[in-house]
């Protein structure tokens, strides 16, 4: 019997949970301003989530999926992208979306039930896909986008992602299979936060890693510490560089923990054991980054307080803007189904044009 193929999955960590460097910094992380910017963006995301949860609890917004504890995944991924790359997000990617120029107000408006918020204002995100609610369907859209880039010979790449549960979907496998077969410029980032609503990672699949699923698609899968924003940005940057040069896809499993409920309509205390959660809080991404920045003389308690206040004020402002967004028109619900509304549906539009918006909208 001969061994005909072997596969290796690596794990990358740069900053350990104590905030110590365990391997040399990548070039971008040698710049203090860049590091502080990453830290700042993580705080912006945490503040957005906190504000969104308040809004949902007070009846000002619909269901919301916080990214609490997973900030380094979203922010590291967003920071690694070039402006002209294309982002095909899943529903917990609001951090990276903000880095793409989508405003916190748009994100709040989206979860507040307004489709106009997916018509992103910023030109930088004009080709990006809207938040995807269906699980892993977006991974196929991303592969199609990557095919278009490759067909036109453009040196751009696509970033897409899903959660750990999302890797069980057929569309996940169909996407990586096509991406591998066509050697597409695409990077898959799996936010392995250990939970698919209430189903833990070990019940989702018996594969030792999620990263190894990439080998079934014929390309490399790697793991990264998803609580280490420097490591996440580094490996996504490398994968994007490879993709833009025609080196094909990469799948990155970012290992983190969902410190919050699945969404605001979930109650994770029904299925998460308290000791596990306490342990996960020890590993979360802010603590180590703060410790490192402090050791480097770049950060202190005063700066931390000021930043938190700034982020909180920024998101309070966004919430106000969200609440005061002019209402959509009833005819909006039919005007965007087709480029030109077929004549046979015109009477339905006429009826909608006389509809009254409900109170409070």
């Amino acid at each position: 019997m001969n061994v005909v193929a072997t596969f290796t999955v690596t794990f990358t960590q740069i900053l350990n949970e104590q905030g110590d460097l365990i391997q040399p910094l990548p070039d971008f992380a040698k710049d203090a301003e860049t590091l502080i910017m990453l830290y700042r963006q993580m705080h912006m995301l945490r503040a957005l989530d906190a504000r969104a949860v308040i809004m949902q609890r007070t009846g000002k917004m619909g269901t919301y999926p916080s990214a609490l504890g997973q900030e380094a995944v979203s922010i590291g991924m967003g920071a690694a992208m070039h402006k002209d790359d294309i982002f095909v997000p899943y529903y917990r990617d609001q951090g990276a979306m903000m880095q793409r120029g989508v405003t916190p107000t748009e994100i709040l408006n989206y979860w507040g039930g307004d489709e106009r918020a997916s018509n992103f204002i910023t030109p930088e995100a004009k080709e990006d896909f809207p938040i995807c609610i269906c699980i892993s369907t977006q991974l196929l859209h991303a592969a199609g986008v990557a095919y278009a880039l490759s067909l036109r010979g453009e040196k751009r790449a696509v970033v897409t992602g899903c959660g750990d549960g999302g890797t069980s979907e057929g569309d996940f496998y169909e996407s990586i299979n096509f991406a591998g077969a066509q050697r597409l410029p695409i990077v898959y980032v799996i936010n392995n936060n250990q939970w698919a609503i209430s189903v833990p990672r070990n019940k989702q699949t018996s594969t030792q890693t999620l990263a190894q699923k990439a080998f079934a698609g014929g390309f490399e899968g790697i793991q990264v510490d998803g609580n280490d924003v420097i490591a996440v940005r580094h490996v996504v940057e490398q994968a994007l560089e490879k993709a833009r040069k025609g080196g094909g896809p990469t799948l990155i499993e970012a290992i983190t923990y969902r410190l919050c409920d699945h969404t605001t309509v979930d109650d994770a205390s029904r299925y998460v054991d308290k000791p596990d959660l306490d342990k996960a809080w020890e590993l979360e991404p802010f603590k180590r980054f703060y410790a490192y920045l402090e050791k480097e003389g770049l950060w202190d308690a005063q700066k931390e307080k000021a930043l938190q206040e700034e982020c909180s004020a920024r998101m309070a402002e966004a919430a106000q803007a969200c609440i005061h967004t002019a209402p959509a028109q009833p005819t909006d619900i039919i005007d965007y189904m087709y480029e030109t509304l077929p004549a046979s549906y015109q009477y339905q539009r006429d009826e909608l044009s006389t509809a009254k918006l409900p109170e409070g909208h």
Binding site: V88, E115, R116, S118, N119, F120, K126, E127, F129, P130, C134, T137, L139, L140, H141, A142, A143, G144, V145, A146, Y147, A148, L149, L151, G170, D171, E174, S175, N177, F178, A181, D332, Y336, M337, Y338, E339, P342, A343, S344, Y345
Partner: protein, 326 residues
């Protein structure tokens, strides 16, 4: 000018539009080297190369899903599902994404794409190869559903479908892929996507149909004519959006209507047409609207498929039953 079949008209339209517009690409299972299992994409690989004529892996949700991504990037994918019976894994992508991307992004992203599939029975195919489930898709807002029934209409409607800025499901009645030949000039002329075709004019009864059933309907019309019944035959062709105006105008004249479709009866498109006739044309009717359809059962395997598909006899019987009303 050589006459061509419906299947050849599909190829002719694809080649025309791929030449005219570099953004048009075709993809699907066995469509490149093999030219498709019905040979409707034959010769395209040689003309346009493997980047624009893609033999995909065998995965239907993928075929639909990547088409959405391509279309959002400005390509115009024409994706083939090998048979309508295999389209269901792609349901989620078609319904939840292709049909609603424009609406979800308030016009920022759209899906100018065509999903093609041979549909219907009568060719002695294996199980799952003979479905007529067009009504499932006609129900979905945002989709257009188009069914040609002649080589000329296949050419003109496919061109229109590719040029349409929204997703179109284009169903090809495979039973008549090679049944009739016609002169079809390769002139790039598209046909309208929201207009019925009046195949034959008459005064006593309107027969409304589409797809392969146009064949039995036209034969029945000939027989009825010999019996002194003047028959109007309408090929709906674009079953969504539905051109009720043409149907209502016809029924206002003939005052009788029979709807013929191969799909199962319950919630078939015949029900929608009958409902709209009741809403808007009831007063012009002399007799109840009739339907001649497939039965509310699974499309039978090849030995019994003929008794399922609406026959000339069943159409005649139905028309004769309402000629008694006057």
């Amino acid at each position: 000018m050589p006459t061509i079949t419906l299947a050849e008209a599909i190829t002719q339209a694809l080649a025309y539009e791929m030449t005219a517009d570099n953004n048009v690409i075709v993809l699907g299972e066995d469509i490149a080297k093999n030219g498709g299992v019905f040979r409707t994409t034959v010769g395209l690989l040689e003309k346009f190369g493997e980047k624009r004529v893609i033999d995909t892996p065998l995965a239907e949700s993928m075929i639909a899903g990547i088409s959405i991504g391509m279309a959002a990037q400005g390509l115009k994918p024409v994706a083939e599902f090998q048979f309508m019976g295999f389209i269901y894994p792609a349901f989620d992508q078609i319904i939840s994404h292709a049909a609603r991307m424009r609406n979800r992004t308030r016009g920022r992203l759209s899906c100018p794409l065509v999903f093609r599939a041979p549909y219907g029975g009568g060719i002695h195919a294996p199980e799952h190869h003979s479905e007529s489930t067009e009504a499932l898709f006609a129900h979905i807002p945002g989709l257009r559903v188009v069914i040609p029934s002649s080589p000329a209409r296949a050419y003109g409607l496919l061109l229109a479908a590719i040029r349409n800025p929204d997703p179109v499901l284009f169903l090809e009645p495979k039973r008549i892929y090679r049944m009739v030949k016609q002169d079809v000039p390769d002139d790039g002329q598209a046909l309208p996507l929201d207009k019925c075709f009046v195949l034959r004019e008459g005064n006593d009864v309107t027969l409304v149909t589409w797809g392969a059933s146009t064949r039995e309907t036209l034969i029945a019309a000939d027989t009825l004519e010999q019996e002194g019944v003047s028959v109007e035959v309408i090929d709906v062709a674009t079953i969504k959006p539905l051109d009720m105006e043409t149907i209502l105008n016809s029924v206002e004249k003939t005052r009788r209507c029979v709807i013929i479709h191969e799909a199962a009866r319950t919630c078939g498109l015949g029900a929608e047409i009958a409902a709209q006739l009741a809403e808007h044309g009831l007063m012009s009717l002399l007799a109840p609207v009739q339907r001649v359809t497939g039965y509310d059962t699974v499309m039978p395997y090849l030995k019994l498929e003929k008794i399922y598909i609406p026959s000339v006899e069943r159409i005649l019987k139905s028309v004769q039953s309402i000629m008694e009303y006057a």
